[in-house]
């Protein structure tokens, strides 16, 4: 009975300690806000998923063509659009650096 009580008390104390751990580690957190992707990050995430989908579709087409599931004609009809989709997705994800207007040097 005593042993059971001691084990029970240790388990309960350990559980409380584990639950309280984030507050024990950082009693006064400077930043206690839960991280979440902002609007820009969410757009990037959606762009990355679209890029991966487009790349996967292109790879599937290549593979289906090599294994004979897609004829040469069908392959030619589809590959151009898929390549453009990949290029668009990559471009949307990594837009070219905006060129800053040149400031004329003063002599």
């Amino acid at each position: 009975m005593t042993a059971a009580l001691i084990i029970g008390a240790i388990v309960a104390a350990a559980c409380v300690a584990v639950v309280a751990l984030p507050f024990l580690r950082e009693p006064k957190a400077a930043d206690d806000v839960l991280d979440a992707p902002g609007e820009r990050e969410q757009r990037r995430l959606a762009g990355a998923e679209e890029r991966d989908r487009a790349l996967a579709a292109l790879k599937e087409l290549e593979f289906d063509h090599r294994t004979g599931k897609v004829s040469d004609d069908d392959y030619r009809a589809q590959v151009g659009a898929l390549r453009r989709r990949v290029a668009d997705a990559v471009r949307a994800l990594d837009p070219p650096e905006r060129t800053e207007p040149k400031v004329p040097a003063r002599g």
């Binding site: 029970g8 839960l34 991280d35 995430l45 989908r53 004609d73």
Partner: protein, 663 residues
């Protein structure tokens, strides 16, 4: 000891409630430390439920009959291995196992995903906590395994059918499957609650879903084998409501595993996937409800209890909550692309989904109809085998065919000319096999011939897919055939692991068709020295043998098996066991496996008569062993699909790099 168990359960309940309430508050108010604390509560609940489980196991091992649960499910003479497996032999222990497995899954999911998707996890934890709280509540307030009493001299013992080695593995496997489906459900709901409907919830739960689905599949096969060797009616699946209860979530999860690939590849079926993940989870709870409530009479009715109302209420709350949430988030779940052609790989996935869900729902209707009938008309009615067989044939055979068609069709769209070329060899193989089967006299069962023809078609298409894929990889570089093959599989484990799983389903179909459509059954009363014939084998009854063990008396008929002539090929011992503590008699069948043709000779001692004769039932079941072989192939395919892919991991890490939270 019981106080420690009770205290551990109350602690687990408190922790899970904390994870629910504080976790939801943290996610709503976006408090980082509070969210981490709720996650830790989920992990701590695993420790508390493990302590409660350890207390119950210790009591079972010690035959401590002051625990009512131990007295109700074990006896002094029950061997230790069965005393320990009695942990899940009754409802209270089963609920504790549910809780333990759920906390284990929850803790593992938190630990593996907390660095990747903190915002998503913040809403997932309260969902997991909510489900866990329900089970902990049941254990603390409704059905505790730690109720004590004045210890009786001996316990009531364990139901004889549960005194079988499969008892050690079948229920835990099923529970790993049932409970595992909570993880994708919780992440799906977490995604909806947090409005993060990108693909992170799918990526985070991909392996959990596959693992749970594998456990559920293996659990059902083990249950089928258990029924085959232990229950003693000569079959392995009886469309029992509780068996159906495990099949339904598995079918829903199978549909989800397929359609989720379409979401990943095409961004389609996003609402459908949420519906499927919720359906699979609700059906897993419904399965537990059926097993534990005793509302339907079945071979599993040893588990009757008054838990039904609680479970039904929980299912209603979950269904209503999930429906409201999905409807509220519909604008976020709009598909970005549309199906390009009805003749494409995507379309075959869609057809497969429709058939799987249709089969699942017809089985559900068969299970609930007797309940509704009694409720509405006050009459008890049953839904029997012909109903289920009709729908199994109607939906199962097209599903089988689709497994062969799918791999041969290109993604996006396929032209008829190319289809003709890719389908040629599998079609030729199937037609030749069908003709050969008819010539060999297999036409006695139309369904059997159709199933076998489809099976050959599927196996040919899978083999062709491996050959064409390997050839394509070999053509890319200077690789040997084995290297090209292994690199083909390694680069797309899910696809080729899936094909291996499809092959296992084909073996299963061959085994089921062979053992049901072409089996031979003979029944006869035999005196000592008399014989009967089944499938060309002569069975001679030689008399009875008896022996006594600590907890039962065994009586066995000695039956010699002759292969046509005078050559004895086996001696078999079908009989019965009489259990003392349980005061029950069980059938103990004798099975002779023929590994060359995959058939079994199955003997049942239907009746042991007082005049020394026996009513012997003999079954010859062709190809039945392919069903069990299918289990091994199924596990192999699942492992291939589950095996981590370093390239894929790197790609996903790069994709979600920005969304990763602070360590």
């Amino acid at each position: 000891m019981p106080d420690l168990g009770r205290a551990a359960l109350v602690t687990a309940f408190g922790l899970l409630l904390y994870a629910t309430v504080v976790g939801a508050l943290a996610a709503w108010k976006r408090r980082r430390r509070l969210a981490a604390s709720a996650q830790n509560a989920l992990i701590a609940a695993l420790v508390a439920s493990a302590v409660a489980s350890a207390v119950l196991l210790t009591a079972l091992a010690r035959h401590d009959f002051s625990f009512q649960y131990v007295a109700d499910h074990t006896s002094r003479e029950l061997p230790l291995r069965y005393a320990l497996t009695a942990f899940w032999g009754g409802q209270e222990g089963s609920l504790l196992l549910w809780l333990l497995v759920l906390c284990g899954y929850g803790a593992a999911a938190v630990l593996t995903t907390r660095r990747v998707s903190r915002d998503l996890l913040a809403w997932t934890v309260p969902v997991l906590g909510f489900v866990g709280s329900f089970f902990a509540f049941m254990l603390v307030f409704v059905s505790s395994p730690f109720v004590t009493q004045r210890a009786p001299a001996d316990g009531a013992g364990l139901t004889p059918s549960l005194q079988n080695p499969y008892m050690a593995i079948h229920p835990p496997m099923l529970y790993l499957g049932y409970v595992g489906l909570t993880i994708p459900f919780a992440f799906g709901m977490g995604a909806l609650l947090s409005r993060r409907t990108d693909e992170r919830w799918i990526v985070a739960t991909r392996r959990w879903t596959l693992a749970a689905w594998t456990f559920l599949g293996v659990g059902q096969l083990l249950g089928a084998h258990w029924a085959y060797v232990e229950i003693g009616w000569g079959g392995y699946y009886a469309w029992d409501p509780v068996e159906n209860a495990a099949l339904m979530p598995w079918l829903a999860a199978t549909a989800f595993l397929h359609s989720v690939m379409i979401q990943e590849k095409r961004g389609m079926l996003r609402v459908w996937n949420m519906v499927l993940v919720a359906l699979a989870f609700c059906l897993s709870i419904f399965g537990t409800f059926l097993t534990r409530s005793g509302v339907i009479q079945s071979i599993h009715s040893f588990a009757q209890s008054p838990l039904g109302g609680w479970f039904l209420g929980f299912i209603c709350v979950v269904t209503a909550g999930t429906t409201v949430l999905i409807v509220a988030r519909l604008p976020l779940l709009r598909a970005r692309t549309k199906l390009e052609s009805l003749v494409s790989r995507e379309a075959t996935f869609l057809y497969n989904n429709l058939l799987l869900v249709a089969l699942c729902l017809t089985i559900l209707w068969g299970v609930v109809y007797p309940l509704l009938s009694e409720l509405v008309r006050g009459q008890t009615s049953t839904v029997s085998k012909p109903y289920y067989n009709f729908f199994l044939h109607s939906f199962g055979l097209p599903l089988l065919l689709l497994m062969g068609i799918g791999p041969l069709v290109a993604w996006r769209r396929a032209s008829l000319r190319t289809l003709g070329r890719t389908f040629l060899w599998p079609l030729v193989a199937a037609i030749v096999a069908g003709a050969a089967l008819l010539a060999a006299g297999a036409g006695s069962s139309r369904i059997g011939v159709i199933a076998y023809t489809f099976c050959i078609f599927v196996l040919s298409s899978i083999a062709l897919e491996f050959v064409r894929g390997t050839r394509a990889r070999k053509a890319l570089g200077d690789e040997s055939w084995p290297h090209a093959f292994s690199s083909l599989v390694a680069r797309n484990r899910r696809r080729y692991g899936g094909y291996v799983v499809h092959a296992s389903v084909v073996f299963l179909a061959i085994g089921i068709a062979g053992s049901s459509a072409y089996q031979t059954v003979r029944e006869q009363r035999l005196g000592v020295g008399q014989s009967m014939t089944v499938a060309g084998r002569q069975l001679v009854f030689r008399g009875f043998e008896q022996r006594r063990t600590p907890n039962h008396r065994a009586i066995r008929a000695v039956v010699d098996v002759y292969d046509g002539g005078a050559h004895r090929i086996a001696r078999m011992y079908p009989g019965k066991n009489q259990y003392f503590a349980e005061q029950e008699v069980s059938n103990e069948v004798a099975i002779r496996h023929d590994l060359l043709d995959g058939s079994d000779l199955f003997l049942i001692a239907d009746q042991v008569n007082s005049d020394g004769s026996i009513d012997l039932k003999a079954l010859e079941k062709p190809l039945v062993n392919l069903i069990w072989l299918a289990g091994f192939v199924f596990v192999g395919g699942s492992l291939i699909a589950l095996w981590p892919d370093a390239r894929e991991e790197r790609r996903l890490a790069e994709r979600y790099a920005g969304a990763m939270a602070r360590a």
